[in-house]
Amino acid sequence: MASIQAPDELDFAGWTCPLPLRDHPRVVMGHGGGGALSAELVEHVFIPAFGGEVLADLGDSAVLTLGDARLAFSTDSYVVRPLFFPGGSIGDLAVNGTVNDLAMSGARAAYLSCGFILEEGVETEVVGRVAKALGNAARTADVQVVTGDTKVVEAGHGDDIYINTSGIGLIPRGVDIRPQRAAPGDVVIVSGEIGLHGIAIMSVREGLEFGVEIASDCAALGGLVQAMLDVTPDIHVLRDPTRGGLAASLHEIATAAGVGVRIEERAVPVPPQVANACAILGLDPLYVANEGKLVAFVPREEADAVLAVMRAHPLGAGAAVIGECVAEHPGMVVARTGFGGTRVVDLPLGEQLPRIC
């Protein structure tokens, strides 16, 4: 090994480092990651172009009034690869994702539309399996697919199958669930273990082996929300922490309501297989996607009853209180670490990337 010599001159003052380029002339993958880049695209491109007060609320669903009825209306597109993964498929996601977006307004999904964009060359048997999975998921979620559309794009211009679903559902009287209602004193509850979907997809997509098969938590949450509303209609906020994970959802709520969120890190249910996979990849479970979980902000006096009914439901058996809503540090999410220190849980810029160090 060569001996080490002292350098003659070092310029520590000139130390500069990677800084994310935010001024993109083209769309990059981070624009679809559910983080800051996604938010900027919506804020700077779509809202100015579309206008409209309802859109500007930026909830998972739009809440609309038609005659005497209050409707939740939502749309989502599904571009997942692989099409089938442990715990579900693109067909399950296409139903459950939209059903859950509606449920986060307190609405029970009633009707779905379903648009398929197929790539030339994809096997019809695969299309059939996806359609069957979608149909089964709709029956499980007690929602009807009532209209649809199919388009085919040339080979090489798609990724086998893309699906878009839109859904509508009725919001019960007396229910007003939206991010802006988060208030200091609210208790923050998560319905179960986090990070399963993101790690499941990553493990099959990247061929990573974590010693055990990790299955997605893909599920429709309409029934769980219904059970919670039966206990109290006064749930302030519901959110399904999909892209960007729990961190992005808590951030959106803190920002929308102008409140702070404080969580106890050790109270957040992270299953060992997710913790281990995240440790290997240098990811933070708080930022990993879920597809069958919700986070709820409920008044403190209702928290015990809501938690009990959640734990009695199969999709909320692992529910846990993870923190509270506070008046301090508005717009910020702060985690108290296992050792008693605090750290800021920032909004991810784009997609979380495996770290080298």
Binding site: G30, N276, G338, R343, I356, C357
Partner: protein, 374 residues
């Protein structure tokens, strides 16, 4: 893998913190060398829990941060060429070179892929014999052996369409550079455990003796970090400056001989520029002439790309503990986590970003009461 829970036990942490508190009689400045350790410290807020006067200075141990701008520009140039599949670890994709990053190259039609191992890139090369496959080989002594193995395998099996853009850096010369820079405030080092698991600890006793600094080989879980701090502080209080291994479950004093043989075969030691600091003699590796065929710099003729770096950020001084983040004139104004100008503001692990966030919390320099929850 029970390690995670065992090495994050709050009760054990409380005991270590109490021991550190009982040991310290005056201020000490320690540097953790590795970015992975910085990540743990910030993630678990360990720096807030230490007694007043024990200061952690975050070292230049993030391979992403120290990869020179011109190497990034070479990567961007190669990745933009038709017929190239450019493979990289994930977090290098958003490191900007001059005016763009690999994500943008991808959005412009470049075939840029995230891989988890250089051997994945080698597999891609075998599967695409009509394409040039390039792997971005960066990092410290920890990522160097698998990268060396990939090049070795490519040569052995005649995978001629595989090459590597190499910008490896070595820790001991960086410690040397820090200790010999003017105004150095570092009094003890937490050495990077994973680097030592490869290289052993043979290079450290001479460094510790010559600069009279304790060097404690430290792991990456919270309790590892606290144990490293505890041992370093105990040495400092006793006036000692030896090399200790506080990470014996992963580090043997001789390191990993097989990995070292591989490194010596494939790489040769070279002077290496560190982003923003300048060139540190003998602080890096490049492919040895025997493997020239697999050296992407030569294959794609980008050897002559040279980039001048902007010098608007004072994070070098922050990294040495010479400047508090909020004392920098652009802190919190033109330089924020949303629009970072330098290494220390880029991610939540950076000293400036952490400071910015805690300042917004109303407690920039005040330490929160250590009150572990069980």
């Amino acid at each position: 893998m029970k390690y995670l829970e065992e090495f994050q036990d709050p009760e054990l942490a409380r005991g270590l913190l109490e021991d550190i508190r009982a040991t310290v009689t005056r201020p000490w400045a320690l540097m953790e060398v590795c970015g992975g350790q910085t990540h743990t410290i910030i993630r678990h807020a360990i720096d807030q829990l230490l007694p007043e006067g024990v200061e952690l200075i975050h070292g230049p141990g993030c391979p992403v941060c120290v990869t020179p701008l011109e190497v990034i520009d070479k990567a961007l140039e190669i990745a933009s060429r038709p017929g190239v599949i450019f493979c990289s670890f994930g977090d290098m994709l958003r490191v900007p070179g001059t005016g763009r990053d690999l994500f943008r190259v991808r959005s412009e039609g470049g075939d840029v892929r995230v891989v988890y191992s250089p051997l994945d890139a080698l597999r891609i090369a075998r599967e695409n014999p009509d394409r040039e496959v390039v792997f971005f080989g960066i990092g410290f002594e920890t990522t160097a052996p698998p990268n060396a193995m990939a090049v070795y395998q490519a040569r052995r099996h005649g995978v001629r369409n595989f090459s590597m853009l190499v910008s490896h850096v070595r820790v001991p010369p960086a410690i040397e550079a820090i200790m010999t820079s003017p105004d150095c405030r570092v009094q003890g080092f937490l050495a990077a455990g994973h680097v030592c698991s490869v290289m052993g600890i043979g290079e450290y006793p001479e460094l510790a003796a010559r600069h009279r600094v304790p060097i404690v080989v430290t792991g990456f879980e919270p309790l590892d970090i606290l144990e490293g701090i505890r041992r370093t502080v105990k040495q400092l209080e006793r006036g000692e400056h030896t090399v200790e291994n506080a990470y014996p479950r992963a580090v043997r004093s001789e390191g990993n001989p097989a990995a070292r043989v591989m490194l010596e075969d494939v790489f040769e030691v070279t002077d290496r520029a560190w982003r923003g600091i300048g060139t540190i003699p003998l602080s890096g590796w490049r492919l040895s002439p025997r493997y020239r065929e697999h050296d992407a710099e030569h294959r794609f003729d980008v050897v002559d790309i040279a980039t001048l770096e902007p010098a608007e950020c004072r994070s070098g001084e922050v990294l040495q503990g010479l400047l508090k983040p909020h004392e920098c004139e652009v802190f919190g104004t033109t330089c924020t986590p949303r629009t970072p100008l330098g290494a220390t503001m880029v991610s939540s692990e950076g000293a400036c970003a952490a400071y910015y966030l805690y300042r917004r919390l109303g407690s920039p320099a005040t330490r929160l009461e250590a009150n572990p929850v069980g």
